[in-house]
Symmetry: D2
Subunit: 118 residues, 4 copies
């Protein structure tokens, strides 16, 4: 039984690959490439827009971006599965570490600070 939604997706994607005998192509190396190609399709949607325009996409374009986000998510889950990485736990750990690294009172509000601390 899946423990949560992410787990459920992971199992479905395993099944999907298994039924098609596509596991042979899903080395972490290859999946990292597929992941980066999907993210680039998101970038492509935004490359000539201003930041403001990127906040208010027309419905049709938003629907396309949604599909690219879904593809990215799918490959990220698949890659994490192949490496036995628990995405939720990893994100939790990373956010905690970021909270210590960038204390709110120290970094607040300045673009310059943001860039430097990044």
């Amino acid at each position: 039984m899946p423990h949560n939604d992410l787990d459920a997706l992971k199992l479905r994607l395993r099944q999907f690959a298994k039924e098609r005998d596509w596991d042979q192509f899903h080395s972490p190396k290859n999946l990292s490439m597929a992941l980066s190609a999907e993210v680039a399709e998101i970038v492509e949607h935004f490359q000539w827009l201003t930041e403001e325009q990127s906040k208010t996409l027309p419905a049709e374009k938003l629907a396309e971006v949604e599909q690219e986000l879904a593809d990215t998510f799918v490959y990220l889950i698949r890659l994490a599965d192949k490496l036995n990485i628990d995405l939720l736990a990893a994100a939790d750990k990373k956010i905690k570490s970021n909270e210590e690294k960038y204390p709110a009172e120290k970094v607040r509000g300045s673009a310059k600070k943001y860039t430097e601390y990044e």
Copy 2:
């Protein structure tokens, strides 16, 4: 109240950005760039490895890759939030569409077919 783990992460990340006044930098355009930069750090770990080596990373390297996956996940959740996209629903829809697009009995087992259908 968050409805699930992903929702909980989304709310935590909102709070994190708000406390630091970093929302101003988080346009979808900028977040798509940050997402692609994080994914590239995953790619960098695998670029000189064989596919086989990418499956059996030494523990230290795996821990680094785990952090890059976490960063990628965090920016993906953040970008989806800014666009009001529900990642779980989008992935569900995409997998269903892929199941129809690539029927198992039709595409099974052939690298050539896999590449063409991709």
Copy 3:
């Protein structure tokens, strides 16, 4: 004898890889990954900047971006060499094709058109 500056760089990079016995790592697949990782380092410099800020980088940051552009150029030349592609001829052909695809009088001046035609 190299026929032009690009040719000269290509031969130097061949020699560089040969002397270090690194040719074995330079499959087109791997080089495409290295190329994308270098480009992401350029993107990283710009991700939190406004478009205006990206036009007037401080000297120190510009020097860093220059190095990332050099790395990108080096891997692009190397990848083209491995695929026996003549970059200058390919670019010439592409620009000619773009000139026909986007006639100036038809596409001039409109962001909307630019995006659509892209």
Copy 4:
């Protein structure tokens, strides 16, 4: 008068953008995104291929990859132009620095060393 082939391409691309009034979209930030999207199209061609397969592309696929390399080259030249960076000089400087950083006798032949020194 252009001083070399790269210079000539740079001037042609300037003219191309000017005639279409597209300069307004070509901030370094935007061009870095376009560059990364083009490179991802190269990566996409190689993602499911083995390293060996990537060395011997069928003619049709090679022609497609050639176009993606041309697009990448075009955006790289354009970005360098906008930042007043001389690509040939930058590459020359980078290669010299790499020659010192990775002395042939020290790094030769070992994948492990290659990865570490990278």
